[in-house]
């Protein structure tokens, strides 16, 4: 056993805790709104609207912690993606998840002080944090202040198109969460990564 690595600084853990909690609130209230049914209500409609709005606003401000935290501290380094050989690296990592791990092979990109994420993680986190979350925030804010929305795009309600985008991306985020949670159990032990995001230290394989 090599020594533990301190990979998740305090600000990052605080951001992540708030983010995860708000995300779950948004998910549950969002589903409740979309599938609102007078006979069976998950959450009363007006409460769901209120909680969804509050959680969305908190998550949006919290996102600023993530953005500035990454700019101001060195954490952004871990997200740097090199184009060259990317596909090969991704395939290698996928191959590991599909077969290597069952054969007892070692992970092709072990976590070091310089490398927190494997290439697959990088791509997933980049897509989530710099594409999907911003789209959700922008469409969400627009729905909160619908007077900002172009009312009519090619005979379709602008609000509808905005809500559609909000809904589609939310599904991808839900999938991200499932995969994210599952791959977090692939650490040195099924719970070790969860301990890391709480106490900040990575437990190496």
């Amino acid at each position: 056993m090599s020594e533990k690595l301190y990979l998740y600084p305090v600000w990052l853990r605080i951001w992540h805790a708030i983010n995860a909690l708000m995300f779950l609130v948004l998910l549950v209230t969002g589903v409740s709104l979309q599938y609102s049914n007078p006979d069976y209500q998950l959450i009363r409609f007006d409460y769901a609207v209120t909680y969804h709005n509050i959680a969305g606003i908190i998550l949006a401000f919290n996102y600023l912690i993530f953005l500035f935290g990454n700019i101001l501290t060195g954490n952004a380094v871990f997200y740097k993606l090199r184009r060259k050989g990317l596909v090969d690296k991704l395939l290698k990592q996928m191959n590991y998840y599909i077969s290597g791990t069952f054969k007892g092979e070692h992970t092709p990109f072990p976590v070091t002080k310089k490398r927190k994420f494997n290439p697959l993680q990088k791509v997933a986190y980049l897509a989530t944090m710099y594409m999907m979350i911003p789209v959700m925030i922008i469409t969400g804010v627009a729905l909160l202040f619908p007077e900002m929305i172009i009312m009519n795009v090619m005979n379709l309600s602008g609000i509808y198109l905005t809500a559609l985008l909000h809904g589609i991306v939310s599904i991808f985020l839900l999938i991200f969460l499932v995969i994210h949670l599952y791959f977090s159990t692939m650490g040195s032990s099924p719970t070790s990564n969860f301990k890391s995001i709480v106490n900040g230290y990575h437990e190496p394989h």
């Binding site: 007078p38 609207v49 499932v178």
Partner: protein
Amino acid sequence: MKIRYFLILIFLLSFSSLWAQLNVDMKSEPAKMEDNKRCFDCHSTHIYTFDNPVSGITERKEMNPNFVFNTDAFYSGVHRHFSCTDCHSPDYETFPHNAELRFEPMYSCIDCHGGDEAFASYHFETIEEEFGKSVHASKHNENFNCWMCHNPHSYKAMTRSDFKISEIVSAHNQMCASCHDNPLHFQRISDSTKKPLEEIHKFLPNFKLHFSAVRCIECHTAVEDTMWVAHNILPKEMAVKKCVECHSSSTMLISSLYKYQTIETRKNRGTFNSMLLNETYVIGANRNIYLNIFSIILFGLSLLGVAVHVFFRIKKK
């Protein structure tokens, strides 16, 4: 396929009374335009003039703003072919008007439309009955009449014409708001004062958006299947307050204004959903079927993937 068209035809026929077009000829030139000029000379401007026979000069005076009417609005209303003196006494042709004319009784809708086969599809008698039960009639029987909402000098039958839902909504709500949000008009009927509508309806998030997308009568009358304009305004305790009445797949919007318009648009486009999409987005009510299927499949696949992986992880341990 054929059966489907047949069913649609039956459906449309059963509502034929609703989508009957207007009898009034809305295209040709208004019949009494020349006649009405005499009155509009004074009653469409803020300054009117008359020759004072005593002093011999032409005087300019300001008109009471409530007596000034927009000629375009008059000629696009349902009574566009009328002469002013069809409803008002011919004695108004002289100026100054005879003071006694103030006591002149005015016609009500029923006086002309009651029992007339040509207007049977409008159900004037039913409407009169319903109005009689409404809070407006029961609280202010004497002063509150049909003209309070149906402006005699501009009323259009919008829901039967080719207007967008948003235009209908705004015109209908203006009928109510012009009195309820205007203390001067309101006090013509009642001494009581009411809070502004925005304050009364605080329970609705985004008041402005709601009031531009739903009509007052959607919440303040019982939804009726046979007559899409319910005239029985119910006491406030019975107003719709539950969000899911609209925000759900069984949205009541289907059976009010939207129903009528749906019948019209269904001819071209097919479903309630597509029609609703066109003008508004109602959370919980417009659901995109493809999006739903897509999300369930995607979610299922990701769970399946995880399950398979877990299985092999346990097995190969």
